[in-house]
Symmetry: C2
């Protein structure tokens, strides 16, 4: 498989995974959370198909496409742990979180995801989902849609 095909497969997994998760949380009240805005493509997808829920966005730096700049009052710039703590302090409840942090170094990215799980999991509303490229701990993993190759994307649901 060429890197061109691999990239398309990754985008397809993101589209299928987010669409499936959005459908799963249709009846769960709460906001959404994009952890790692990047170029803003998945944020744009959540915005387009997310039924006008508020989408909190956390990133260290705003590097996105101009059309994907989040509203100022929903954007939290800084370290993810501190920003999630700020969200918790505000009483935010998240129906769907998309975790896309990482620099492409597996061991380091997994360690960071484990550390951040402690802040992320308590934000998730009962029945709410996390869709993630990294393993999250402290919340039950569930099967995602059949169309996604195993391990390419991870899905978690908050009990309740």
């Amino acid at each position: 498989m060429s890197r061109l095909e691999s990239m398309r497969r990754r985008l397809t997994a993101q589209i299928d995974g987010l669409n499936w998760a959005l459908d799963q949380v249709a009846d769960i009240p709460g906001d959404m959370l994009e952890l790692g805005l990047g170029n803003g493509r998945t944020y744009d997808h959540m915005r387009e198909y997310g039924d006008d829920r508020r989408i909190w966005v956390i990133d260290r730096q705003l590097n996105c496409h101009p059309s994907c700049v989040p509203p100022e009052d929903s954007y939290l710039e800084g370290e993810a742990d501190a920003m999630m703590q700020a969200l918790a302090d505000r009483g935010a409840k998240i129906a769907l979180a998309h975790y896309e942090l990482g620099i492409g170094i597996r061991e380091q990215d997994e360690k960071e995801a484990e550390k951040l799980s402690e802040y992320l999991v308590p934000l998730i509303a009962p029945g709410g989902l996390i869709v993630s490229q990294q393993p999250i701990v402290g919340i039950p993993e569930i099967d995602g849609p059949d169309t996604i190759a195993e391990g390419r994307y991870l899905f978690y649901r908050q009990p309740g």
Copy 2:
């Protein structure tokens, strides 16, 4: 359509367009040419499915993924017009060229493509193809594969 879906559509057009063009030039002798390496994804695709043809690569700067660095003796770093002139001086004949130069500003990109056509078209072997994101002049345009939305990708064939 979200930017995530739009990006997938673009990758699909690239994959379908390059696969179709590779098939079209199967019996045309000559090398390949990647005009604008970028991150190297389409180069990787041409490399994987290009029957071991030599792939000349022209770019102003090497910014690709480490796995997609072209062999030193096929990489020409510099302005595209001068580099294509260097190729012509070496007597290179191109069966398939992929034109991906541009900075995303339509008018400017089209003007550059028109200017560079003068160097690009004479390099193409009789029956050879250009696949391009920008309009090329001085060579007949042909229909590409049906699966690609009109205008998203352009195809040209050298008479003969």
